[in-house]
Amino acid sequence: MAYDKFTVLKSTAVPMPIENVDTDQIIPARFLKATERKGFGDNLFRDWRYNADESPKRDFVLNNPIYSGKILVGGRNFGSGSSREHAAWAIYDYGFRCVVSSFFADIFKNNSLNIGILPVQVSPEFLDKLFKAIEADPKTEIEVSLPDQTITLVATGESESFFINGYKKNNMMNGYDDIDYLQSLKNDIKSYASSSVY
């Protein structure tokens, strides 16, 4: 599925300083029953966001109007657990384009990159700095530059660089995906398959 190109994103951010946010929290299993990719944002963090009677939980950050933006800043080991890509779809559908943490689970990171969400891994110190800056001023702007591979607190200029491999960076900046690339390798794949032992 095509996604919007990602170059430079300047936005306020939503802080979620919780460790080990697993994909069952991001989207509980009972909301995985669709056969199409739409509407998942409504159920993003469903059980943290709503009570059993569907009223919003007042103390949850997504229900707090002072926080908004296209960047979600999460605690260490974000996206662990289930491989459900629905978690990334829900984050994208809600309106986030970038997730920042000091550590991501592997499958979540791959899923995000495949659908156009940029996972930005920063040092624990810089993550702490981001949380503090957002706490002090919820309107704090953060700039994420994919071409430069940097994340910057706009007000102070404090910045850190992040890693992304050249292939994925090129994909995200141009809105390409792996499926197109793999289609171009069909002859190699056929030739490999014909000599495979299985």
């Binding site: 929290q25 592997d106 499926i179 793999l182």
Partner: protein, 482 residues
Amino acid sequence: MIKIQEFAHPFKLYAMSKTATTLFDKVWDRHVIRHIEDGPDVLFIDRHFIHEVTSPVAFLGLETRGLKVMFPEKTFATADHNTPTINQHLPVQDPLSANQLKALETNSAKYGISHWGLGNPKNGIVHVVGPENGITLPGMTIVCGDSHTSTHGAFGAIAFGIGTSEVEMVLSSQCIMQQKPKKMRISVNGKLGKGIVPKDVVLYIISRLTAAGATGYFVEYAGDVFENMSMEGRMTVCNMSIEMGARGGMVAPDETTFAYIKGREKAPKGADWDKALAYWKTLKTDEGASFDVEYTYDAAEIEPMITYGTNPGMGIGITKKIPQAQEAGSGKASYEKSLAYMGFHEKEAMLGKKVDYVFIGSCTNGRIEDFRAFASIIKGKKKADHVTAWIVPGSHIVEQQIREEGILDILMEAGFQLRQPGCSACLAMNDDKIPAGKYAVSTSNRNFEGRQGPGARTMLASPLVAAAAAITGVVTDPRELF
């Protein structure tokens, strides 16, 4: 512009290598079709499993792009995640689940993919039916849109979970693009004590490494304990590799592996078997091969395990007390949030805590050995009145074994009922949901908040600990019931 570095034929590349190599490298390198400089490897996939939940959007993607399934004979479909575990002969009540099951059936038929739907005698949990039908073999690359695909690593395969975009890649090209993970070896040496089973071994390892301790790595399990373990036990261990963040885990194939595979329906036969066996015997880590990190544990240190928190790394020996935040190695706020959800406190004992529900089943502990273990404890005893127990086989073949071996009689005499196969309460996509606030001892793999139903509180443990809790109604050391 991206530079693509083309490898020589992977077989030759490997044959020329004289250096000591790990099992993981041997299998991975053999499947690399291209290596992209400053990018991922293009990895050929030998076996692809699909189920009803993570495949429909991938098929939709194929249609949008006008692509076909490149090798339909390498993909296998089974319905498991949202299937009911009673009255499977009746139409599925939940219209959304029924719709997904129908989509799996329709898509499989359309593209010529083998499909074991509800009611098929081969149906069951994807990670149970793959191995028991000989689809899973040593040296393969295996993927599925399910993180517990790591289970198949028990056969010396590289097996891991993928997202739906990647399911679409495999359907359309039989390849995915992956950065090669780093390598970790975990050795457990010595002899396990009485009442200590593979689930305890893996919960112990995760408790030591934490829920993120192996992220970025692929694990090889080695040492006496795994060498002496059955295939089913190895599957339980490899299954939970993802719970410490690992991409997957594997055990080198040996005589135990070959004996398990031989004669299974889709396993090689005759001359093909001999040829395969000769190759499989080369699949082990060479002496002197290096890993990025190694951990070694002593089997004698392991006791029956149980979790007290909301990630699988929060586990302790069943006779121990709940640790304090700093001992548990996590941030205080997150730790307190976790204990508050469970209704537990630091320094409390786990033994004696009330249990409302017991679940035995799932891709972790839904195989015949697990039900034998469960039966060994409950035989001649009665289920505690206040406990609701869900006994869910991993497949119809397991269900059949339970009947044939007389385990069903033992269950019924003790006041238990057997349900029909499926993922069931492991992720509670069907009606098997633990009510809010209730405590479950579960043989499944995740104790996340709400995993077994909104508000449900999960304690992960082995089939023996589950059986002991079902009989006494409280958390109990199963060694006291032998």
